[in-house]
Symmetry: C2
């Protein structure tokens, strides 16, 4: 038979050191640019692992990080799991009470943090009594003033660490290696635990020619934070494959990103649409050379088609749309054309590539509609369910697991259609979809159509209860300054684009639409507001 060699992480960093000792990890810091080779990174990683052990970190212990994208964070990415502990990357943008909740829930024993995070942790130090050590990842020679205690200097631990530390060779592949919490619609964040096996396999998926094809030739810059689903796995796969990595450090701006691309000849980058919108705006000033880029991976939210067009037509930078979530490590789909689709006119190709794409090898999907499994016709909607070796099977010690994980599948909460070629398109969230008379209406499709009207600044569509149809769509519209349009004019504008029963029963004109801190519509609040308005005015909310 075959060897039962475990799919574990120590061999990933060992390969970086053995085969790519000269390749670099380039980090932007407050003080400038640092360059370390994988030989240096690998040694520092062993030193860190030994120092953490001396601090009392044992197999299975959680070590939290609160940090930007930089080489020290990358060292922690390998030192912690390779020594048998678990790296818990914490979103530094969360509120202090959420941060203390997840530190306690994960039972983090040690925290590694950037200097700018100190105030946040000082503010909640009393709530996180389980933390036995704070390690400051600073560029300065001395520690900053802080009330945190006990506190250690990262570079001192590196200097005192054992360069010849040997990673244990008996870590089972199913052992936990990492953790990341994802925000919940209601209640506290929910934890996802990654295993050595899941990270190993997900890294291979990132290297596939048909996926993002991450390779030794790449100079890869993950803009997506290392506290967001492991920067989509790029730091792990990049080290394994010998990819040059460019880590943009703290508080970067679009201008800083573009300058890094220019100076370091970045070939591949990854981030959410808002990042690329900002970069595009800066690029349009026209003073930059970004011709080294072979591709940009974009996910986290659907990218506007016009942005994709602009990158490709003006800058010749292929835009690769992908889909995933914290629970999926995250790569699930990648939107690349099939070879025979390359012949299509650009508009059709753009339309396909604006979808979320095809599932990558290793992942299985089904699309669950009201009637069973949705047809692959590009129209029937259903909730996307996933399974595979880098898909979570549960939330970490959380009763809410049973709402999401059923019969061996992860129910994503995303409503999708699948076209005849198997390209998946996200059309809504299950909680936002409008269920009207046994059919589903996509709030997102209606919103996009409304926002294409010249008078409309933004639009949100929500479901309101209806006696006969169960739910009906109602649109809320904010007009552009000095613009005007009537409800009937907007409905006329929508009519040619949708089936009659899709049209909103009512269009309300608002001054603003309530949003979350990251700019997403707060549909729950909006729905309540709409219902109040409707009840007050005409009783439509009750379906009369």
């Amino acid at each position: 038979m075959m060897m039962d060699s475990p799919l574990t992480m120590p061999q990933m960093i060992k390969r970086a050191e053995m085969l790519f000792s000269k390749k670099e990890v380039i980090s932007r810091t407050d003080k400038g640019i640092s360059r370390l080779t994988y030989r240096e990174i690998a040694e520092r990683t062993r030193r860190l692992a030994s120092s953490l052990e001396k601090l009392g970190v044992r197999r299975g212990d959680k070590v939290g990080t609160l940090a930007w994208n930089h080489h020290r964070h990358l060292e922690a990415y390998f030192a912690i799991p390779c020594s048998g502990a678990v790296i818990h990357t914490i979103n530094i943008r969360l509120a202090p009470q959420q941060i203390s909740y997840i530190i306690n829930h994960a039972e983090d024993k040690v925290l590694l943090l950037d200097p700018d995070i100190i105030p946040i942790l000082e503010s909640c130090r009393d709530e996180i009594q389980g933390v036995k050590a704070f390690i400051i990842m600073t560029d300065e020679d001395t520690l900053p003033e802080t009330t945190l205690s006990p506190v250690y200097h990262y570079e001192k631990l590196i200097a005192d660490g054992d360069p010849d530390y040997v990673y244990p060779d008996d870590i089972p592949e199913q052992a936990p290696a990492g953790m990341c919490y994802t925000s919940a619609t209601t209640g506290n964040p929910k934890g996802v635990v990654y295993t050595h096996r899941s990270i190993f396999l997900h890294s291979l998926a990132l290297g596939l020619a048909d996926s993002v094809a991450l390779s030794e030739r790449d100079v890869a810059m993950p803009v997506v934070p290392m506290f967001h689903v492991n920067a989509w796995g790029m730091p792990f796969a990049g080290a394994w494959f010998g990819t040059t990595q460019v880590l943009p450090g703290p508080n970067f701006t679009p201008k800083i990103l573009i300058e890094l691309i220019e100076q370091e000849k970045v070939t591949f980058s990854a981030g959410v649409p808002t990042i690329w919108l900002g970069v595009l705006k800066e690029l349009e000033t026209g003073k930059y050379d970004v011709s080294s880029l072979r591709g940009i991976l974009c996910g986290g939210a659907p990218a506007p088609k016009e942005m994709i067009r602009r990158y490709e037509q003006k800058y010749q930078i292929p835009f690769i749309h992908g889909y995933g979530m914290t629970e999926t490590s995250p790569i699930v789909t990648i939107s690349k054309l099939k070879s025979y689709q390359e012949q299509l006119p650009y508009e059709e190709r753009l339309e396909i590539r604006s979808k979320q794409g095809l599932i990558v090898p290793g992942i299985e999907m089904k699309v669950v509609s009201a009637k069973g499994e949705a047809a692959w016709d590009g129209r029937e909607m259903g909730e996307l369910a996933l399974r595979g070796p880098w898909i979570a099977s549960e939330y970490y010690q959380d009763d809410r697991s049973k709402e999401t994980f059923k019969d061996g599948w992860l129910y994503t909460g995303d409503v999708v259609t699948v076209d005849g070629e198997g390209f998946l398109k996200i059309v809504d969230r299950t909680k936002d979809i409008i269920k009207s008379g046994g059919e589903w209406i996509s709030s997102v499709d209606l919103e996009n159509a409304l926002m294409a009207h010249e008078a409309v600044f933004e639009a949100a569509v929500v479901a309101v209860p209806h006696k006969k149809w169960q739910e009906r769509p109602v649109a809320c519209v904010v007009l552009k300054e000095n613009a005007s349009v009537t409800e009937e004019e907007l409905l006329d504008f929508l009519r040619p684009q949708f089936a009659k029963w899709w049209l909103p029963d009512k269009i309300l004109f608002l001054n603003e639409i309530p949003k979350t801190s990251v700019g997403k519509f707060l549909k729950r609040a909006l729905r309540e507001e709409v219902q109040k308005v409707l009840e007050a005015h005409e009783g439509l909310a009750a379906g009369e």
Copy 2:
């Protein structure tokens, strides 16, 4: 934690059907070209699986194949393991007594065979009593005359099969999926058992951008037989990724291969050096367009540097050197330049790419010399040892396993050097290396140097026992017709190229060098012959 979704094969063929239903498998047959889509292949695969079950094939049973590269063989590649049985691919070029040995040793219950194999099996039918059914994979509507019994028509089984057969979903990933026997230096062939997990992971390795980057865009033609280490895994990975496959069928010639490349716009092919030497000779006639090829994968034996140069410089076809063996699934190394090596002059690049290359992600290696682990200096020699999830842990029910598998490593029997960049180069077989005074001398290096002399047709170097130095090299040389050279002239020719102690103690001139049926030097026989000659003539063999 993460789902424990097994790494098994049914999802590979399901993905081909779901996402690449229009892509084709193109087979050359005696009657012309057949084209089947993955939708058709997948349905035929299910029909075959159900018919095999009806014939009594159960979980874990071995089903042998004796067949060329064609779509029916590909169907067997998935139908058999996906239903829980084990596909045992049998080398049709072996002698009948070897074929009957491995059929009996593997306990094959059913055999699928091409019509031209019938005479071989008829000749050993009495020895393979365990075989309960013979299935003929013929293009004809009726079965050929045969004494084999009971005999079935493959297409009849497909027609009678269940198109809605459902593969079991409870196959463990460590379950056996395939088998292949490899020839031994002495004694019977030795069996290697592949698992679902090993085939799944090896297929991912084939898709890596830094490996062979097999992709949906490729039109891949495995020339390496499907009875040789699963055609290096290409049929499995190709189906999973939606690659168009071109299977060259029975008794192909270089001309037939080139015509297939031309007509089907093959982008990628794979085979042993002798194939590519033949193709090169045919290409030199200059009437072909092979510009569709993006690469050729070559392994099984080191490819001559001059052949690589010719393909690249005259035909602009990148030649990718790889290394592996039956025991390793087979991909272990791939020789692609690192990005910073691209700047080197062509001769240096060619020198690097003529080596066997870098280990692919997932595989670990060590090089065991007389003194421990060999230095990575491009000079110190040692035996290559490997481990990883697609490396065998034993030979199937074979006492010889303990000679090859030790301490969790596969000892390959190949002597290699590793340069400072980690590129591995095969310099000899352990049984042929000459151990002189605690140092190793490569017989292959001396042979290549001798064969570069204009008077030498071929040369073989063997070890003879020596009292003081343990072993010393002796060269056997066959001269070209009408050429002449003296022993001293040849030694003078070698002198500038090697350390003094590398030079052969004696050069013998022979009329021919004993060879195996596939043209390799029979060094064991040669060594005996040399010793007789030396004992008779001068007693040098005894080191006096």
